[in-house]
């Protein structure tokens, strides 16, 4: 017979789940915006979603929430790859922003061709995207090789591309700033005519489905965790830890290429020094917010994804209250400190003990 769980027990179970941290953060942001809506009461709501005509003449969804899930798309894709890299190699790839620049540059180089006509595609976008995928995955393999076979600390290994990547990106286009104004090139970063949801959102969802399938139909998850926790033992059980680490970096490269496509499609151009700047930090933060140990091992990819949305929600919320773009990182840092401290194992342990003692006191009362 199944015992009925008390409310306290249910809370206890939820609190112990890894996904609790990003969920709680999301909840707090929602509550904050809800209250702020009531106080400010200027007739707009953070949660309002409108269905109206865009300037291009299509019916599309708009509103703060749409902005959040739209702008979070690149971060979500990166968080997926970063989670795997973190789990298997016990470190992070800080070159993702720079490799996005490279991937974006490759795409523009191919679709712009000789650059004679900025209004027509010189090559199919799909071809450009495949080329970008190959390039980004090769760079991923390069990082992965340094980490897996040369046993270089991931952050140091990826520092190379972090430093050199944007120069490489500029070099691919001879340091010019190519522009591609063909409307279809904007489909991937904006809207596809007739579809009311921003395309990046759909791409991010496709990415999630893809990784969900990969984790379900392969042993990538088990192997990555096993390698991240104990490479010796993994090897003696027939796993090749080096190959698994390498694979995670290549997978991250693939997601980087997709993020690159979205980025250049949004602006239909590229600015090598600005594109996807500091996005690696947000991606790492998403992994940390998801409660995944940054030292590798166990992971929960859905918690990282949720973490990515929380970060974007935070950014959008701060923008809404007219926080200056230059001051934004400082505000963000405060929130991040709170979240990270709350999710630290030490603090959680303390909180758990606090809960436990409160519970036992209650039980004591009941017994009396």
């Amino acid at each position: 017979m199944k015992q009925k769980k008390s409310f306290g027990e249910i809370v206890n179970v939820i609190v112990h789940k890894q996904i609790f941290i990003p969920l709680a953060a999301l909840f707090i942001l929602v509550v904050f915006n809800f209250i702020a809506d009531l106080i400010v009461n200027d007739g707009t709501s953070f949660f309002e979603i409108t269905y109206g005509m865009s300037k291009d003449g299509y019916h599309v969804l708009s509103g703060n929430l749409i902005t959040v899930i739209d702008n979070a798309s690149e971060l979500v894709l990166l968080a997926i790859g970063m989670t795997l890299v973190t789990a298997a190699s016990g470190g992070q790839d800080i070159s993702v922003g720079a490799v996005i620049a490279i991937a974006g540059s490759v795409i523009l180089r191919i679709v712009c061709g000789d650059g004679s006509d900025a209004n027509t595609l010189q090559a199919p976008i799909i071809l450009a995207f495949f080329a970008a995928c190959i390039v980004a995955m090769l760079f991923g393999a390069f990082n992965g090789m340094l980490v897996a076979y040369f046993k270089i600390q991931p952050m140091v290994a990826t520092l190379i591309l972090f430093t050199a990547g944007r120069s490489i990106a500029a070099w691919i286009n001879n340091n010019e700033l190519p522009v591609m104004n063909a409307p279809s090139f904007g489909y991937f970063g904006k809207f596809i005519p007739g579809i009311a949801v921003p395309t990046p959102v759909l791409i991010a969802i496709a990415g999630m489905i893809l990784i969900g399938l990969v984790l379900k139909f392969t042993n990538l998850g088990l192997y990555a965790q096993s390698v991240g926790i104990n490479p010796n033992s993994s090897r003696l059980n027939g796993i090749n830890p080096e190959v698994i680490k390498l694979i995670t970096y290549v997978i991250l490269g693939f997601f980087v290429a997709i993020a690159g496509l979205i980025k250049v499609s949004r602006v239909q151009s590229i600015n090598y020094s600005v594109i996807a700047k500091d996005i690696e930090m947000d991606a790492i933060l998403a992994v940390a917010l998801g409660g995944n140990p940054l030292g590798g091992g166990k992971f929960n990819i859905w918690a990282s994804i949720l973490g990515a949305y929380v970060i974007q929600m935070l950014t959008t919320t701060l923008f809404r209250y007219n926080v200056d773009a230059t001051a934004l990182p400082a505000y963000k840092a405060v929130v991040v400190v709170v979240l990270v401290v709350l999710s630290a194992p030490v603090v959680r342990e303390r909180l758990n003990r606090l809960f436990a003692s409160l519970k036992s006191k209650n039980e004591g009362k009941e017994a009396a």
Binding site: Q225, S226, N230, S234, N237, G238
Partner: protein, 505 residues
């Protein structure tokens, strides 16, 4: 407090998520005594020690320490040290990347500055006094496990402790080193230090201890003066049942020792790896249990690692069931039906944060291949089956394996290989650091596998155990095979003589 009592623990309770690890346990330690803490895996020995040293917080109960007014409040290992309690853990908890001297004095300086020179001199002096074969400036990681263990003890001894806890200190020491340790323990005892000695070696208990406290399933069985508790009684107290006869598990001879002309399941000629063993020949037949024996560091593990492809094989011919094969890496061996339980469970065996279930299916899963994951339901089924079969004590199959006691972790690793249904299973020190009951279970299991026609290579530091289990012993000395014993040669004297070499005995 009574005159000579220096530590009094009363009604200690500790539970982890509803599982009682300790339940109203009392423990008393007197000045100048060596007190054995005995019990099976999961009896609560480690938990009690961890409560005493502040690693865990007790849920209930009192701890009194001589010289401290009222109840001792130990909330961290630092508190414990300050109260005069020093510990040497079973698993070495020093920093391998620091020098020996740094390890001995780490965290004990008064200020921020260290006088390296005097520290090294002091360390060297102490190492000489205790006869530990290393230098102050040597990096700890480059010392053998035995030396590391002794450094840990030296560190604890130097802290001028009242209570010294030795948690399985001898599991990785050879006989001479154990003798040195015992001498040290007796010296400390004469100085009035109370020593808590946790071990699985019964001989050692009866050699050095004055009193025994027995725990079982988290509860106290009793405290006994050693003279009042003969061996058999101790074992039955630990197991909670009368033991028929420990030494008689082998039953009838398997009779496979002699060469019956059949094709060996595994055969190696001139096998040699990068780990510095001399090329060796080896074979094992179906239904046979054999073993590698020799002193610590004689190359036993290196041999089996070469067989399994765990180390890089440099030369040699290998045949499996008469067919020539190459084993370059573990997966090659696994596909040929060979399983390998590694010597160092913590380093090479468990994947500590993963669940019991994931740990259990790992090898089988890898053999099935990257694109054929075992379904959750199927994995659950396997886990339940083997948890039941080997009587693994775990809260659930979801529990991270790191939370299990040593013996139960070992059982999971054994289950991991049983699940792959190997023809040939190598068990390297499967009984190290685990309790008697489980030890016997594992030995029985090895024999049972043999009776089912499988082959087993069994390695243990305890010659008794090898004699009980194996029908043929390969003896090693100085990284080379020096002899092979079977039949009537399988007795303690003969084995010892072969290990020691022709000139002695």
């Amino acid at each position: 407090m009574q005159d000579d009592v220096i530590l009094k623990m009363r009604n200690i309770r500790k539970s982890f998520g509803g599982v009682h690890a300790l339940h109203e346990v009392d423990f008393t330690l007197r000045r100048g005594e060596i007190h054995a803490l005995m019990g099976e895996n999961g009896a609560g020995k480690s938990t009690l020690i961890k409560v005493l040293t502040g690693v865990y917080q007790k849920d209930e109960g009192t701890v009194e320490i001589e010289g401290i007014q009222g109840e001792a409040n130990i909330r961290s290992p630092q508190d414990a040290q300050n109260s005069g309690i020093s510990t040497v853990y079973q698993e070495i908890s020093l920093c391998p990347n620091l020098t020996v001297a740094e390890n001995m004095f780490i965290g004990r300086g008064k200020g921020a500055f260290t006088d390296w020179k005097s520290m090294n001199t002091k360390a060297d002096k102490m190492l000489r006094e205790l006869d530990i074969p290393t230098y102050a400036t040597e990096q700890l990681g480059s010392c053998s496990i035995a030396v590391q263990q002794m450094v840990a003890i030296a560190r604890a001894v130097d802290m001028e402790c009242k209570v010294l806890i030795l948690d399985e200190p001898t599991s990785s020491l050879d006989e001479q080193e154990v003798e040195k340790l015992f001498k040290l323990m007796r010296d400390l005892k004469a100085k009035g230090v109370g020593i808590i000695f946790v071990t699985h070696f019964l001989d050692q208990v009866y050699e050095v201890c004055d009193r025994i406290t027995v725990l079982r399933d988290g509860g106290l069985v009793g405290e006994y003066v050693i003279e009042d508790l003969p061996r058999v009684k101790l074992v039955s107290k630990m197991l909670g049942k009368e033991l028929d006869d420990i030494s008689d598990i082998k039953g009838e001879e398997t009779g496979k020792a002699e060469d019956d002309g059949s094709v060996p399941v595994f055969e190696a000629k001139g096998l040699c790896s990068t780990e510095g063993i001399k090329p060796f020949d080896f074979y094992i037949k179906a239904g046979e249990v054999n073993g590698f024996t020799g002193l610590l560091g004689s190359g036993r593990s290196e041999c089996v690692r070469a067989i399994f492809g765990a180390d890089k094989v440099t030369e040699g011919k290998v045949k499996v069931k008469g067919k020539e094969v190459t084993i370059k890496k573990p997966i090659d061996a696994m596909k040929l039906g060979i399983g390998y339980l590694p010597e160092d469970r913590k380093r090479d065996g468990i994947v500590s944060e993963l669940s019991v279930r994931d740990n259990l299916i790992l090898a089988f899963q890898v053999m099935k291949g990257f694109f054929h994951p075992i379904s959750r339901a199927k994995a659950e089924e396997y886990a339940d089956e083997y948890i039941k079969l080997l009587d693994i004590k775990t809260a659930s199959s979801e529990t991270p394996i790191g939370r299990l006691s040593g013996g139960n972790q070992q059982k999971v690793i054994i289950a991991r290989w049983l699940l792959t249904h190997p023809d040939y299973l190598i068990l390297d020190e499967p009984t190290r650091g685990i309790d008697i009951g489980t030890k016997i279970e594992i030995q029985k299991l090895a024999l049972k596998l043999a009776s089912e026609g499988k082959s087993v290579t069994f390695i243990s530091s305890e010659v008794d155990e090898m004699l009980r289990t194996c029908s043929r012993l390969v003896v090693m000395r100085d990284r080379a095979v020096v002899g092979e014993l079977s039949g009537s040669d399988l007795n303690q004297t003969k084995v010892m003589a072969t290990i020691a070499g022709g000139e002695s005995k």
